[in-house]
C-alpha cells in the first residue's frame, strides 16, 4: 500500500492537533446570506499560522465568498470571524493584514505591471528604492521581467494572472488569499509557481489560503484541505488523510478516483464489518472502529490503485469479486481495468504498466478476480 504520509518531514507540522495552539483565523458559526440564498451555512473552521490551507469544492459552493469575508468585502450575516485576537467584524478591508488575489485578477488598467505590483507597498509609504527592489523580486518570481513596463491590456491571460499573483504577494501579508491563482498557467509554469509559492510561504512564515479546482495542486501545496459542498464544510484534514480516510462518499469522490460499493451491514466482529452488497456474493470485509447497526445501509470506498486483478482466483484474500473485463483505459504509466461484477456494478482497478502493452495477459471480456485487503477500503456511513 503506497502512503502519502511517509513523504511528510520527520518534524511534523500539525498545529491543528495541538489544543494549546491559537488559530490565526477562526470562523465561528459563520453564516452568509445573499437575500434569501444561503452561500455559507453555519461554518466553523480554524486556520493556523504558517498553514497552506486549500479550499476545494464544486463551482458555486462558497469558496470565493469565504475569501471575501476574510478580506473584508463581505460581512457574515451571523457568526464571527476572528483574526488572531481581533474580531474582523469591524475592520474595513484596508485595515486588515490580509491580501487577496482576485479570481478575476482586478489589475489596474491604467497602471503598468510594475505600478500594479508596487501599489500595495506604495500605500504603506515604503521607500522608493525598497519598492523597486521588491517589485523586481516579484517580477523575477513570476518571470515577467520583460513586461514590467506594459499595461495589463497588453498581456496574455496567464501573464495577467501572474501579475495579480505578484501584486498580492508583494506586501508579504500575514494572511494571503489566493483565489484560483494558477488556473490560467500551463502545466510546467504552474508546477514551478506552486513550488515557488510553497517556498515563499515557508521562508517568510506566511499563512496562505488557496482556492483551486485542481485537486492535484491542492494535494501538492496544501497542509490541510477543506472539502466544501453548498456552503458547508464536509471534511477538513491533511491531503493524505482525506485521500486515505475520507469521511463521506462526497469527499472520497471529490479527491481522486474511487470505487464506491453500496450495501447493508451484515455482521460486525471486532473491528471488522461485513457488508452484504449483492445477492449470492460473499459480503465484503472492511476494517473500521465504528460499530454500525446490522441492516443499515452503508458504503465501502476503495481506491482503484488498491485493487489487484488476476485471472486466477487468489487464495487467502479478505475480499474478492469475480467479474468480466468491460473496458481497459490506458494512460501510459497505468492501465485502468473496468470490471463488471455480477450485479452490474463497475469496479475500477489500476495497475502500473511494468510490462509492455503487448505482454499484457488480461484483455477484454476476460473473466477476472478483483481482490483487496480489508484495510485498503474505507467504511462510510454517509
Amino acid at each position: 500500500m503506497e502512503t502519502l504520509v511517509s513523504t511528510q518531514p520527520v518534524c511534523k507540522f500539525a498545529p491543528w492537533e495541538d489544543p494549546a495552539q491559537e488559530p490565526l483565523v477562526r470562523f465561528e458559526s459563520v453564516t452568509k446570506k445573499f437575500g434569501d440564498f444561503t452561500a455559507i451555512e453555519d461554518l466553523t473552521l480554524n486556520i493556523y499560522e504558517r498553514e497552506f490551507f486549500a479550499l476545494l469544492g464544486p463551482s458555486g459552493c462558497g469558496k470565493t465568498t469565504m475569501m471575501r469575508m476574510l478580506a473584508g468585502f463581505e460581512y457574515p450575516t451571523a457568526g464571527n470571524i476572528m483574526l488572531g485576537q481581533s474580531n474582523l467584524q469591524k475592520a474595513p478591508p484596508h485595515k486588515r493584514p490580509v491580501n487577496m488575489m482576485f479570481q478575476s485578477y482586478a489589475l489596474f488598467p491604467h497602471m503598468t505591471v510594475e505600478q500594479n505590483i508596487g501599489f500595495g507597498l506604495k500605500q504603506e509609504k515604503t521607500p522608493k528604492t525598497e519598492i523597486r527592489r521588491r517589485v523586481e523580486e516579484m517580477l523575477s518570481l513570476v518571470q515577467l521581467e520583460p513586461f514590467a513596463k506594459r499595461k495589463p491590456h497588453q498581456l496574455s491571460g496567464g501573464q495577467k494572472q501572474r501579475v495579480a499573483l505578484a501584486r498580492s504577494l508583494a506586501k508579504k501579508p500575514k494572511l494571503l488569499l489566493l483565489d484560483e491563482p494558477l488556473g490560467a498557467l500551463d502545466r510546467k509554469l504552474r508546477e514551478q509557481t506552486q513550488f515557488e509559492l510553497m517556498n515563499i510561504q515557508e521562508q517568510l512564515g506566511l499563512t496562505f489560503v488557496i482556492v483551486t479546482h485542481d485537486q492535484e495542486e491542492a494535494m501538492t501545496v496544501a497542509s490541510r484541505i477543506a472539502v466544501m459542498d453548498h456552503g458547508k464544510i464536509v471534511q477538513v484534514a491533511t491531503p493524505a488523510e482525506i485521500y486515505e480516510y475520507p469521511n463521506s462518499r462526497y469527499s472520497a469522490d471529490f479527491l481522486g478516483d474511487v470505487n464506491i460499493i453500496e450495501g447493508q451491514i451484515d455482521v460486525t466482529t471486532g473491528e471488522t464489518v461485513s457488508l452484504a452488497w449483492a445477492e449470492g456474493e460473499t459480503p465484503l470485509a472492511i476494517s473500521t472502529k465504528l460499530r454500525p447497526q446490522t441492516g443499515t445501509t452503508a458504503w465501502l470506498a476503495v481506491r482503484p490503485e488498491k485493487l489487484r486483478i488476476s485471472k486466477e482466483k487468489p487464495e487467502n484474500v479478505d475480499n474478492c469479486i469475480q467479474g468480466e473485463v468491460w473496458d481497459i483505459g490506458y494512460t501510459g504509466n497505468i492501465s485502468t481495468y473496468h470490471v463488471k461484477a455480477s450485479n452490474g456494478a463497475i469496479l475500477k482497478a489500476q495497475v502500473s504498466n511494468r510490462e509492455h502493452l503487448a505482454d499484457r495477459s488480461i484483455t477484454w471480456e476476460d473473466n477476472v478476480y478483483v481482490y483487496w485487503e480489508k484495510g485498503a477500503g474505507v467504511f462510510l456511513e454517509a
Binding site: H94, N99, M100, F102, L107, F108, P109, F119
Partner: protein, 318 residues
C-alpha cells in the same frame, strides 16, 4: 451639433467593418461623408466666401456675387475681388478680440463648474442601486423634453429681482436685500451650467457605471483607504468621460448666443452675441462671416483633441 457630425464618420466605419460586400460597404461609408458635405462643408464654403467679400447696401448685402451665366470668366472675376479686409478689420477693433477672450473665459469657467457639479451627480447615479439607475438617467434627460429657449426664459423668472430665488432667500432670512443676479455674468454661468449639465453627466455616468468594482476592492485590499482609492483608481479611470463631458460642454458654450442674450447683461460680450449684432443690427454679413470662420478655426483645436481622446479610448478598450 457640429461635434457629433464630425465624429460620426469614424464610428460608422468601425460599425460597418463587418460587412463583406464591397459596394454596400462603400455606400455605408459614403453616407456620413455626403451628409458632412451637404450640411457642413457646403454652408462652410458659402460663409467663407461671404467673409472674403465686401459689404454693400444691397440684397444680398455683399459683393461680389457669382452669376452662373457669366461662366468661367465670372468665377475668375469673383475670385479676384476677394480680399482679407474683413479679417484685418477684426484685428483692428478690440471688440472682437475681447469677445473671443471673454467667450473662452466664460466657456472655460462654465465647463469647470459643470464638471464640479456634474461629477458627483454622475457618481451618485452610478453608485445607486441598479433598479434606480434607469429612472435617474431619465430624470437627467427629462429637461430636453421642453424647449431649450423656454427653459432659459424660465430662469429669468427665477433670477430676477422679484424672482423665486430672491423671494425664497428673503423669506428664509438668508439675505435682507434682493440679489442682483439677472443680467450679470453669474446668470450666464447659471444658465450654461444648467443647460449643459446633461452633456457632462451622461458621458461621466457612462464611464463610472462601467467601472469594475473589483478594482476598488483590490485597491482597498492593498491598503488604500476608500477616499484615496477614489483618487488613484476611480478618477483616473473616469478621465475619458471627464474629457468627453468637458468638450461637449466647452465647444457649444464658446459660441453660445441665447443664454448671454437672455440672461446676461449688456456689459457681457460674447462672440455669439457679437456675431448676432454684426449680422442683424449692422447687417455686415462679411464681417459676421469672418467672425464665424475664426470661431470655427478656434474650436478646431479642441475638436481635434476631443477626437484624439476618443480614438485613444477606443484603442484602450479593445
Amino acid at each position: 451639433m457640429a461635434v457629433a457630425d464630425i465624429t460620426s464618420p469614424s464610428e460608422e466605419i468601425q460599425e460597418t467593418s463587418g460587412l463583406s460586400s464591397g459596394w454596400g460597404r462603400r455606400l455605408l461609408i459614403a453616407i456620413p461623408y455626403i451628409w458632412l458635405l451637404i450640411f457642413f462643408l457646403a454652408p462652410f464654403v458659402i460663409v467663407l466666401k461671404i467673409s472674403l467679400s465686401d459689404v454693400i447696401l444691397a440684397r444680398p448685402p455683399y459683393f461680389p456675387n457669382f452669376d452662373i451665366s457669366e461662366g468661367w470668366q465670372g468665377l475668375l472675376a469673383m475670385l479676384q475681388a476677394f480680399d482679407l479686409e474683413n479679417y484685418v478689420w477684426l484685428t483692428e477693433d478690440t471688440l472682437y478680440l475681447n469677445s473671443y477672450l471673454s467667450s473662452l473665459r466664460i466657456a472655460s469657467i462654465s465647463t469647470l463648474l459643470t464638471l464640479v457639479i456634474g461629477y458627483p451627480i454622475a457618481y451618485a447615479m452610478a453608485k445607486a442601486p441598479k433598479e434606480w439607475r434607469a429612472t435617474l438617467l431619465m430624470l437627467v434627460i427629462l429637461p430636453f423634453w421642453t424647449s431649450f429657449l423656454i427653459r432659459v426664459y424660465a430662469w429669468i423668472g427665477i433670477l430676477k429681482k422679484e424672482g423665486f430665488l430672491n423671494y425664497f432667500l428673503l423669506w428664509t432670512g438668508v439675505i435682507d436685500e434682493p440679489l442682483m443676479i439677472l443680467n450679470t455674468d453669474t446668470a450666464i454661468y447659471i444658465g450654461i451650467v444648467y443647460s449643459y449639465l446633461p452633456f457632462m453627466v451622461l458621458p461621466l455616468y457612462a464611464v463610472l457605471e462601467k467601472l469594475d468594482i473589483s478594482l476598488l476592492e483590490a485597491a482597498t485590499d492593498l491598503g488604500c483607504s476608500p477616499l484615496k482609492a477614489f483618487w488613484v483608481i476611480t478618477l483616473p479611470l473616469s478621465l475619458p468621460g471627464v474629457w468627453a463631458g468637458c468638450f461637449l460642454v466647452f465647444i457649444p458654450a464658446v459660441g453660445e448666443f441665447v443664454i448671454p442674450d437672455i440672461l446676461g447683461g449688456s456689459s457681457t460680450i460674447m462672440i455669439g452675441k457679437t456675431l448676432w449684432v454684426e449680422f442683424f443690427s449692422n447687417r455686415d454679413w462679411p464681417v459676421a462671416s469672418a467672425v464665424a470662420i475664426l470661431l470655427l478655426l478656434m474650436l478646431i483645436l479642441p475638436i481635434i483633441l476631443f477626437q484624439k481622446q476618443q480614438e485613444k479610448q477606443a484603442e484602450a478598450s479593445q
